[in-house]
């Protein structure tokens, strides 16, 4: 390999310099750079215009379907979440204490900074375990609540399709209603199509003593909503009561199931349904000693 001589180096240097000096860039280079720095990037804008819009148009039906599904699911599990709220409320102070402890360790305690090196991963692992444990507890509570609600709903008469009973309600183990709020879909007849019943302003939580109806012994094992809470087998028994059975109601369990709800009885008698805000009344008040149904 030959080494370049000084002469060739100088010749090349002068040639390159002359060639370079003949190039004169435009004077608006800085303006161009600033314009490119301030203006939106054309590539990004083009991508947004060409790629994002058709994608959004394609995704929009899926998003609407997903929104509908999520709404339905949330309406189903909403009461369950309401029941596990106290559990989270119990975990709240624990988290607050944990946060305070971590803040103390981070600032005042100085253990994490001055302590051994394994203390920081250990604290992280402990926090992770606490979070996982609380999450597992919450999930188990949710599952338990849902399972309990499902069992009650399965036992309840309200989800019977053939009987035209309302769905979405149920009775838990204590005999309390699990009808979600703002649910006005109560059966008008024995058919499968429910009829909406607006909330009656005259409906109160207390049963009206002047108009009572005795529910006939139901054929279905579903508990009546007006039975006493501690009765696990909430099917009303035809115990003698001090109220007279109303002759206007004679539910026949053969052709159509017996109206087990207050609303059904009320609708069949033509009286306003004892529904307040979509919740079947008569359960919050002190239960009558009998299985009479106020209308």
């Amino acid at each position: 390999m030959t080494y370049p001589t000084r002469e060739h180096e100088d010749l090349l240097r002068r040639a390159l310099r002359a060639a370079g000096d003949s190039v004169e860039p435009a004077g608006d280079g800085l303006e161009r750079i600033r314009a490119r720095l301030t203006a939106p990037r054309p590539t990004v804008a083009a991508w947004m215009m060409c790629g994002a819009e058709p994608a959004a148009l394609r995704v929009r039906p899926f998003l609407s379907w997903l929104h509908l599904r999520i709404g339905q699911a949330f309406s189903r599990i909403g009461p369950a979440f309401g029941r596990i709220g106290p559990a989270f409320a119990r975990l709240g102070p624990a988290f607050a204490r944990l946060g305070l402890a971590l803040a103390w360790l981070r600032t005042g305690g100085g253990i994490l900074k001055t302590g051994p090196r394994w203390l920081r991963p250990a604290a992280a692992m402990a926090a992770f375990a606490v979070i996982i444990g609380s999450g597992a507890f919450a999930i188990s509570a949710l599952q338990h609540t849902i399972t309990q609600r499902g069992v009650n709903t399965g036992l309840g008469q309200r989800v019977s399709k053939t009987g035209g009973q309302t769905s979405g309600g149920g009775v838990n183990g204590t005999g309390q209603e699990l009808v979600p709020p703002n649910q006005f879909w109560l059966p008008l007849h024995t058919g499968s199509t429910p009829a909406p019943i607006p909330p009656s302003p005259s409906a109160t939580a207390s049963p009206t003593p002047s108009c009572t109806a005795t529910v006939a012994p139901s054929q279905s094992p579903v508990p009546n909503v007006t039975t006493t809470p501690p009765a696990p087998s909430v099917t009303p028994t035809p115990t003698p009561t001090d109220t007279n059975p109303s002759p206007s109601i004679s539910p026949s369990p053969g052709a159509s199931p017996a109206p087990s709800t207050l609303a059904e009885a009320a609708v069949m008698t033509g009286s306003p349904a004892p529904v307040t805000g979509g919740t079947v009344t008569g359960t919050a008040s002190p239960p009558p000693p009998t299985s009479t149904v106020p209308c």
Binding site: L11, L12, A15, V23, P25, I33
Partner: protein
Amino acid sequence: MTTGEPGDAAARPTQVTETLVADSALGAVPADWDADRAVTALYSTHYRSLVRLAALLLRDVSTAEEVVQDSFVAMHDGWRRLRDNEKALSYLRQSVVNRSRSVLRHRVVVDRNAPKPPPDMPSAEQGAIAQLERSAVVTALRTLPARQREALVLRYYGDLSEAQIAMTMGISRGAVKSHTARAMAALRSVLERDV
């Protein structure tokens, strides 16, 4: 363009003020400067020399301007990530060289696949290019491989050291020596034949 006389070598240190090495001290940007201020300062001192460097590599003035402007924009965007602001000029130079490589690579593919367009009326840029190509040295330079051409331009136009060339091209100093020696050997044959 003239190739110059060999006896002008003594005037070189005073005539290379336009080149990159003469402005290397001005490439140091204070650390507390923001991106806009740094871009403005570096533009005023290095834009022309960087465009000329890119023009020597690309043989196209407008493309060279775009390449340098891209480099400035990239430096502005990555100003916070620039760990050493005093090496802003090195960053710009390396960006220019890398983008010039990309342009040349793309140009090779385009020239390979695209049909030859009919000759148009000569424009001002083409006149400048023709002036560039008038030089036998520059013409011979075009025949060299890209890496050898980069090494020669950075060495004899930018007056960079081997270490700076190695950093700019992303190769080792030994590779810089090898590219420079081979390129000079190839050019010598051309220049001795022409002169």
